[in-house]
Subunit: 425 residues, 4 copies
Amino acid sequence: MIKLPAEEFRPMGTIQELVILRGHIIDSLILAKVLDTVLMMGGTFDLEEVSIGKTRDESSHAKILVHASSAQLLGDILQAIQPHGASVERERDCQVERAPANGVFPERFYATTHLPTQVRLQGEWIDVGRIEMDLGIVVNAGRTAAHALPMGEVKLGDLVVTGRTGIRVSPLQRPRERDVFSFMESQISAERPHGHIIADVAKRMLALRDGHRAGRPDCKVLLAGGPAIIHAGGREALAWLIDEGFIHTLFCGNALAAHDMEAELYGTSLGYGLTAGRAVPHGHEHHLRTINRIRAIGSIQTAVESGVIKQGIMASCVKRGVQVVMAGTIRDDGPLPGVVTDSVEAQAAMRSAISGVGLALLVASTLHAIATGNLLPATIPTVCVDVNPAVPTKLADRGSFQAVGLVMDAASFLRDVARELGARP
Amino acid sequence: MIKLPAEEFRPMGTIQELVILRGHIIDSLILAKVLDTVLMMGGTFDLEEVSIGKTRDESSHAKILVHASSAQLLGDILQAIQPHGASVERERDCQVERAPANGVFPERFYATTHLPTQVRLQGEWIDVGRIEMDLGIVVNAGRTAAHALPMGEVKLGDLVVTGRTGIRVSPLQRPRERDVFSFMESQISAERPHGHIIADVAKRMLALRDGHRAGRPDCKVLLAGGPAIIHAGGREALAWLIDEGFIHTLFCGNALAAHDMEAELYGTSLGYGLTAGRAVPHGHEHHLRTINRIRAIGSIQTAVESGVIKQGIMASCVKRGVQVVMAGTIRDDGPLPGVVTDSVEAQAAMRSAISGVGLALLVASTLHAIATGNLLPATIPTVCVDVNPAVPTKLADRGSFQAVGLVMDAASFLRDVARELGARP
Amino acid sequence: MIKLPAEEFRPMGTIQELVILRGHIIDSLILAKVLDTVLMMGGTFDLEEVSIGKTRDESSHAKILVHASSAQLLGDILQAIQPHGASVERERDCQVERAPANGVFPERFYATTHLPTQVRLQGEWIDVGRIEMDLGIVVNAGRTAAHALPMGEVKLGDLVVTGRTGIRVSPLQRPRERDVFSFMESQISAERPHGHIIADVAKRMLALRDGHRAGRPDCKVLLAGGPAIIHAGGREALAWLIDEGFIHTLFCGNALAAHDMEAELYGTSLGYGLTAGRAVPHGHEHHLRTINRIRAIGSIQTAVESGVIKQGIMASCVKRGVQVVMAGTIRDDGPLPGVVTDSVEAQAAMRSAISGVGLALLVASTLHAIATGNLLPATIPTVCVDVNPAVPTKLADRGSFQAVGLVMDAASFLRDVARELGARP
Amino acid sequence: MIKLPAEEFRPMGTIQELVILRGHIIDSLILAKVLDTVLMMGGTFDLEEVSIGKTRDESSHAKILVHASSAQLLGDILQAIQPHGASVERERDCQVERAPANGVFPERFYATTHLPTQVRLQGEWIDVGRIEMDLGIVVNAGRTAAHALPMGEVKLGDLVVTGRTGIRVSPLQRPRERDVFSFMESQISAERPHGHIIADVAKRMLALRDGHRAGRPDCKVLLAGGPAIIHAGGREALAWLIDEGFIHTLFCGNALAAHDMEAELYGTSLGYGLTAGRAVPHGHEHHLRTINRIRAIGSIQTAVESGVIKQGIMASCVKRGVQVVMAGTIRDDGPLPGVVTDSVEAQAAMRSAISGVGLALLVASTLHAIATGNLLPATIPTVCVDVNPAVPTKLADRGSFQAVGLVMDAASFLRDVARELGARP
């Protein structure tokens, strides 16, 4: 219990609000950041009560009396500290307003983070379902449940949470045992050793495969990848991982699928001979001919089942029942049958497929890494692998702070993981 | 006239074909590459006749008798040298087959390059319209015209060119006066001076503006750009270029438009204060609120016309009647009204907008640079600007060899161009 | 005053030490980091007393009783938190041992950070002079003064500070007014606006020029740069900045000087025509011929004074009396007269030239950026400019956390700064 | 035999010179480039005689009569085409002048390329010894021998080759069998498969080890590497390669050696725990303490022989008698005993060690890659490995066109090579 007899220093005419922080607010630096934000924005504070957990399992809490010179400033400060998990003590239900039109939130809608979130409805704190960053929160008619919703899916008249009262965001808990996904590890550097991250990823994949086979929830492994996986020589390793049951969901685009099957039909990737290691005459046409052939056949599944495509990533996905979401882009040729060309539909398909994911591997695709990162709750361990350090940096800039960045080429990563899991070279 | 009495050295049992090369085959290195390819693939050749232009205006031609040990090998060699512009002397009409289904080419379809192309129909060499890389060629019923067509647009029964006979591809002519777009300049390096490229771009933009105002064809300037234009501080410069009539077509995504209007409504870009230069509390929500607001208003055009959005790139585009194609991706929030979410539709809109373009600026967007590069004929001068040298490299890897790579940040590029064109800082 | 009645929970047999934190320990996150470190390493703590400054000018302090299960662990913890500014309460003089040989510190030598540091000698806290990271601290015979010293310069028998008692490191104070050098700004991203950083740099350069002219201390501006300044077209801007008195010290290598004078003698940089914008025949020899010519003349100064070199960076440095340290590397041709080929000597020359610097600009040179960063106290505002984001990242990885990273090309940066300071384009 | 009766078109008043090209001038594109250069510079030409090799083993030759409007222009053109191997027919001895001072070449000195070079002395074509780019050529007093010499090593009065007559540069021959070092393969892309390059490197290393053991010349393998080898986890693989006799010469700096021994003494690299995968408290001091300890011991060799350093790269080098050149830079701490701090001396040591090298691996060090690249003749197969594509690009920009660029992290490369050569994981 801490008392700060600071009231006498308070300037006249300030207004104040008591806010509460709970959780691992010390070792997560949350308390410091909140106090810092208050001072920075021109407010002052008294620490009314600070109870600090003595061990890493015990949580802490703090009551902070925030002072500001105007209601406007006080409101701004409360808004600014709320994403850190600060909840206003004078607990009230969250506010809701009706959506003014299909696909439009009320002006003051609350925008989500990807951290676990609760809203207070009729005096109860309710978990917000399907959390994801940059969505709104919709409350059911009975005000007994709430879930996050993309802007495009809101319907005229839906009850949408607005303002910031009655909303609680929980900072991520530090894991009991230190692992590579602990929250201060998300630095990106080409100069860090990769071995322990790959070992950790492999260990998790083993455990998740067991869990998945046993039907336990949240045991799916998602891989979102780009065509450089094929170009760089990681096709066999990824197909092996799928065959062995380590991957359960694949997000990719037209190019990865086309180059995978081009490798099967022509032995090239973008016309570059994978074993010869050199450009093959007219090889640049191979991906086009591959796409055309699969279009003629009608679907990737038929191509695999009829024996036209025997091996590779797509073949393994079909054979192992891996869920594949192929999203279209404006640079696609064809595209292949099965590519979801509408970006809103594709996003919805990815969103739905993310449910149950316990590990996300974002490999060699800026677009898929950012898009998938946007959809992932902060609680899902995420690795972003790219030979270009700008990709994990961009991911972090976009808010996916939980992602561990690994600066290495896709093929080396996949082969190392496969080897760690027992693949013969 | 050159004669090579080489027949006596020819091994028994070879078969041969006479091919002809025309154009600037010496200074474009075409002759050397063709001979090299023949030898590399295991063939031999006689130079039957070489006539070399004495000046840079005179073109050259060569007749090459290609020998191979089998019809198969000869066919492969003829295929391999055909994209360099080698046409088989024993001139025949091109072959056509009917498309077996909607959206499917015949198996042996000819895949286009982005170089000027002709096909021989009923003894006449006909220019192939709407040329672009990685398409097929469709011939009209009367066999009097031909144009390139994306795979997805072909209809059952369309006459599609197959094989490689009766097809001529013209190498790019070297320009009379050396400029930065001359074909051997497409090296990419952070260590090259930018000044002369920017000066050349500005000079072209001035000339194209005059041409466009005078109603001359092929005088549109296309800019395809990413949101880093806003983040890095290039918004004012780009808006100025649009206001002054230097840009006629804009390709972008949801993000560029959202951040542009976020800058107008909130003074931030991705929540980062553009003038303050620091993250603004809750700023990450600003782009969401911006998108929501425009959705509520109904369209960007209405937002501009009603005075909600007064300045910036989008406002300038609306006011100046610039054609904007906004293509959706799976990482979009919202999206904004007007975004074409279907990638095939978006590609078609871009394809149609490219007609009449005389200069293409691909700025700070990997996706838009590659996608637009795929659609551009090789004859259109193209600059690819990115702070990351991997982007122009990737563009070149994808075949857009005509693009000049400029490794610099988007804002510096746009401000330098604007300054060169008379903008006050 | 905060009291934590936590003793009853303390496990038996622990040993403890009272440590004190002073300064802006809340808003700098220092307190949180220290507590976190204690818990992480397996210790526990009581917050004996926390006094938190109410405003940003008031500093805070905290007394923390650290517990550990062994003296070894306690020692480790005290070591680990000491760089954050934690001083052991039971104040004692620092320990010293004699250097066992020339160029060798005692085994347990204290290794410096680049933060302001004090040692306790005969009961007094003494500022450590010439602070810089990764040095040792040498105390004078009378134990009345101390300064940091590179390993190579220590002499047999010198008194060298060892262990960690009696040493205080001060965290950086947050500046009164927010500026770009405030300590949490050191993120590096190509997606940040540059404008305000450049404006801030220019404002500082103006103020420092005034200060330097008035003879005030710590008003020198240091630029450490690489040859890409010349290649990319920044030569005129940098020469202008020197001419106008904005730069007082230049660190560079053989290449920058050679290419600068090559530009003067041949109009090229690495053989690449600066105005023509293309490779010039035999241009790769120009830098060699330039070096040979200056070697024949005897010195850069003579070359300038005799009129051989009339303009450019080197000419401006000679004319304006700017101190130049040219350090040699194994990739040099020549080298030019004046290049310090011995790296230890060059480092010593740079070290000595850094005294009095009030702003450091590290432009387009990984080697010079890291080397200069190593020598700079954390209190000197530092900007690292490179088109490659890996360079500022590397600098931060090496401990120069105070450096602001700017991902843009050198020429754009220098021209923008010059323009901001009034240069005509 | 080709005759071009072109004289009648020649403008009046031109002067002319007959030049000869020999070698694989067709498939190496040399002929095309030479003709192109002549036209570009404003000259014209007649092809007097072209004899083209029918197979890849037969070489070709061409006699070209070059015309220009002035002696000055003709001289310029002859200069410009000479590096392509064009020799002036009217064969003359090379010209020589005496060096005007120690360390200074005559003004008109001939600057070398790194291609095989001959000079004509007393009517004989003599091979130039110790060829390397950017040097001069010194002729012995009897005019019977010639070798390349760095500017800094020339002595007053030495006979130095000047101008361009009597000098022959041989283009690289295309290898009989296609391998990854064939000269048109030197493209750099993160999107190319690495497998076949690594396989080729391993195959060469096996053959070179055999050759080296058998005492055959030019069978040394050189590795020039940076500290990222240690950071990224490649230490064990490199030590294994040394132990197994695959590496015979090592170029590195203070940092690689220090971090290698830090890994041995502390289990960290730059303070980052190699197995723990996280920053270790005070770990940043470890490299300093390592350096200090080795300084106290006196030498790396003594440290290994006395058992202080038991394993790792340095230990393996000492045990296997690998020649190590450690070059100092201005960013070094310490430095370690054995580091050559003078850059000119270090360059000379590297130059001398390069003699006998048959394969050069430049791994994860921009400085060492460029510096070593400068010293390597074009005939030595060279691989440049870096996770940053800018490094191999820079190497190519500096003229080392023979280097194959591999964009991957150092540890993955070394482990893949070791695995290919039989290392157990």
